[in-house]
Subunit: 363 residues, 2 copies
Amino acid sequence: MTTATAPPDPGGLDQDLVRNEVDGVLDGFLTRKAGTFAEQQLPAEVTDVLRDFLHAGGKRIRPLLCLAGWHAAGGQGRPRAIGQAAASLEMFHAFCLIHDDVMDQSDTRRGHPAVHRTLAAHHTHGRTSTAADRLGTSAAVLIGDLALVWADELLHTAGLTRRQLTDVLPLIDVMRTEVMYGQYLDVTATGTPTGDVERALSICRYKTAKYTVERPLHIGAALAGAGPAALAALTAYAIPVGEAFQLRDDLLGVFGDPALTGKPALDDLREGKATVLAALALRHASRVQADQLRLFLGCRTLTDDQADTAREIIVATGAAHRVETMIADRYERALRHLESAPFEPASADLLREFADSAVRRQT
Amino acid sequence: MTTATAPPDPGGLDQDLVRNEVDGVLDGFLTRKAGTFAEQQLPAEVTDVLRDFLHAGGKRIRPLLCLAGWHAAGGQGRPRAIGQAAASLEMFHAFCLIHDDVMDQSDTRRGHPAVHRTLAAHHTHGRTSTAADRLGTSAAVLIGDLALVWADELLHTAGLTRRQLTDVLPLIDVMRTEVMYGQYLDVTATGTPTGDVERALSICRYKTAKYTVERPLHIGAALAGAGPAALAALTAYAIPVGEAFQLRDDLLGVFGDPALTGKPALDDLREGKATVLAALALRHASRVQADQLRLFLGCRTLTDDQADTAREIIVATGAAHRVETMIADRYERALRHLESAPFEPASADLLREFADSAVRRQT
């Protein structure tokens, strides 16, 4: 029962609440798909694997920001259609991660075997291990593809008005091109990092700032009928926060505690990820330091000792400190924009909290 | 100038005319994308590679059938929006083929290097050949993903009415799930073919009959406002023709002339494709024949002599003859439906021609 002294309705932006809502939509969708497949005598493997993947973890950041965008732009209550549109972003994200793991040949994700590894293990019978691995990769590409088109189906069947649908489709289109382009830049730059800080920032912007923060906010806001001014205000907040989020990720990828991040602290170095951190280190390194770094970054057999040396060089060049400064600058800029933005209070609170966690997180 | 004796307007269903129209739309789209990327200092590789791929060949079957569906259901003239919606199916098909080649690890497509091979060759500088191959595969997965989302963008920006868009999106959703599911069944069955004819027919139906024939016709018809009866009439034609098309493909994959089909005559056997042809051969083989076939089908090192023996067994079991009979039955069934269907004459002519070429083709 609501009383006069109850806190104002936070617009349902509580993280656990949103997670339950999103997971309920995704579970329901996959259960219906599994039912249709069963009627057609098709195997349940696809829906089972995808459901397990979605349940294994993930912070539901994009649906949360989508709902924050909805409320920020004046959306009232939480119509079912809006919840489902927000959930569709999590299904799209499953696509991104499944393909990402195939491309990176990662063994694990969220502490479980990566989808392609799970599928290879499912299909060893009557196959060599090479053939099973190949099948696992192919099947994971296809499950990723299905997650992508099911994200669309969730959106198309959410019950949005025709107006909402036609307003939001261009943003979905642009979000997808941006994240794929960012991934493309990342994939083609990985293994041959250079001192090109601009390129690294470009990857960071497309792959993360726009995809993870700006576009989810825009999509939610567009569903509430937001005009160009509201979208621009969200952008002014989203891009610095999103860049800070990725810059923190780059630092955690090299200096993070594997027990907290859930991924080996050697991966980014061994892959030779073309991060801003790596670019700054290479740009400000002495000749000797640069030669050594180039040898280490992208070396698939990098040892723990070599990794420690690489970390020392990165610190010695001032790159780690520079990245911390960039994060702090961006955080301040985002908060400044937030203070002057016309967002309703509960959304502004969530965006402030998100900015805090983006820059302070250890996982 | 039209005179009283001129032949009736064929509704613009001439294959060369449609190809030009489709290619014009796709070229224009990629040129605009390349322009946007250039403004953002992003590399042109993605659009260049995709353009080359689209120009390298392909029969534009799906756009043609989409337009046939449009006219069959009473669509008048050829609004620009309808042409662009039809072209979007070709962009989607590029996605299918690029990912297909990654999954099959094919070296060539349409007589040119497969996209992942082209990209590996672009990025050899500073990389081992293993690293370049891996990059080529990752980049091809991403270009495939982009083709998929750009197919959507072509549709969303075609200028369809809101009504047309909301009518057609559910069909796009179902088409994509069907073809991916068919691919999934195919990928997981490949390498371990059995005598399970039903499974093989299921793959054939989802991967080809529905994807290549039924859904393009439905999509075109839905754009013209077709109701359930018209869609059902198109299905009655499309499923048998589509199955016949794939059954012919299965025969060509084993008995075809590589000079005409453009792919090595050993591939299907070496892959161990779970075709209806292989299933029938295994089902009707003697124990000795079956043992030998199981040894050959899926053997990556199959020699020409062994392939000849496999072909002899397939013929001796009666499987090749049975498949020919299935093709003939399906062709007749499709034409019978076509005769009684209420389609306007130019579309009916095209559908008759398509059925002829589907069963008689040598490539």
